[in-house]
């Protein structure tokens, strides 16, 4: 007997060849972008030493490039960009809330521990 109390959302996900073509085009674009960013990161890392004056700038640009890469992976490869906005928020908002809190508390505690250690030794 066929169940009528379930909706197979999986069946709605189909698309035709024309749509597939544009999706593939987007995938190739993201591939090139991710590769280029990685190459730039490695070049910067190899050329600029950590004791140079512009290192802090490079460091933060690494963080920015990583977040950009992560954004493209999550939104395009994992299709989160194509999901309902509410699904997006349910995934992203709790995650960022926890992780920002964790970063904040770790930095705060590390500084405090450093102060204590400096006083002791």
């Amino acid at each position: 007997m066929e169940r009528d109390d379930l909706i197979e959302y999986s069946l709605d996900a189909h698309h035709n060849e024309e749509k597939g073509k544009s999706i593939r085009k987007k995938i190739y674009f993201v591939t090139v972008l991710l590769t280029v960013i990685t190459v730039v990161e490695v070049l910067l890392g190899a050329i600029i030493k950590q004791n140079s004056a512009i290192w802090p700038l490079i460091k933060w640009s690494f963080v920015a490039m990583t977040l950009l890469k992560a954004g493209y992976i999550v939104m395009v490869f994992m299709h989160l960009g194509d999901e309902r906005p509410w699904l997006r928020y349910v995934i992203l908002v709790p995650y960022f809330m926890f992780i920002l809190y964790l970063i904040f508390i770790a930095l705060w505690e590390a500084t405090a521990i450093r102060d204590v250690l400096d006083k002791l030794f």
Binding site: V42, G45, V63, M78, I91
Partner: protein, 345 residues
Amino acid sequence: MAAHTVEMDSKTLWGGKVSPFTTSYGKLMMWFFLVSDALTFGGLLIAYGFTRHDALEAWPIGEETFNSLPFLGHGYPLLYVALMTFILIISSVTMVLAVEAGHRMDRKGVTKWMIATIIGGFFFVGSQAWEWYHFIHGSEFGKIELADGSQAIVKGHFGAIQNFKVVKAGSHHKKDEVITEDLMHLFQHAGKDGHLSGNTPNQGMITLHDGSVAKINKSADHDLMLIVKKDGKTNKVGQKIEGAKAVSMYYSALYSGTPNRVIYGANLEQNEYGPQQYAQFFFFITGFHGFHVFSGVVINILICLGVLSGKYHQRGHYEMVEKTGLYWHFVDLVWVFVFTFFYLI
């Protein structure tokens, strides 16, 4: 009151049956799992940052530690790990192409791209095995404890050892015997046990296991540089010593005759790269990620078998491919962060 009520259908009211996310249960649960797993990795990387923040200059820099390529030796900072990153990105691309083919019910396309993804996964796991082997094995120089009690890592090109010529017979080796095998291993072992002696770098003496003493025939090292990683009486963390001074400091410590002044490679008790936590974090974070990749490959193989058997085609949709794809992309996503925070910064 009737004027204030609005007619709503069950879709808007989330009244059961209809998912507000228009997503199947399985896909939603995969997302929830990934969020929790991402928090685990986030916690690990933040703990790493916390520890590093505490150690400051003593912490090894990625390009100091990871600068080897298979068959080519040292001197290629970060190129290997960049290659690993590229492999994982490409296998992520083949996975998303498999998902796209699934949406068109193109069974051949799904099979093709799934197999490509699995091959990419195997390449990555293999690369990681090589990286671990290299990390555990260590460099030719190791980390040395200098005369003032400071510890320094050593950069440069190690001059090859040609042979050991026995000058004093032991229970196994005769006098004037020339030993040509397993030289590096014997040399490092003797270094750890304090069985090396001599006054000039390339004319040291080695005491072998059987009690025989041999003369070391070795080419000169090039571009030796000591980078101090632990404070001593005179040398401070971050200090760099180059040239003839570095050579004499390194060999006077190596040939001092005291055991345990040199550390080669890494294990869970000591490592040659920097503070002890560094190796622990390396093993745990890359190991945990590698375990994810490995399980991802296993899941991909199982799903690929399902595709080959036509199970999903019969079902009318390839959502299983999409779900395993989510997991596979997540593995790539984590590596993007590990790459930045462990290797680049």
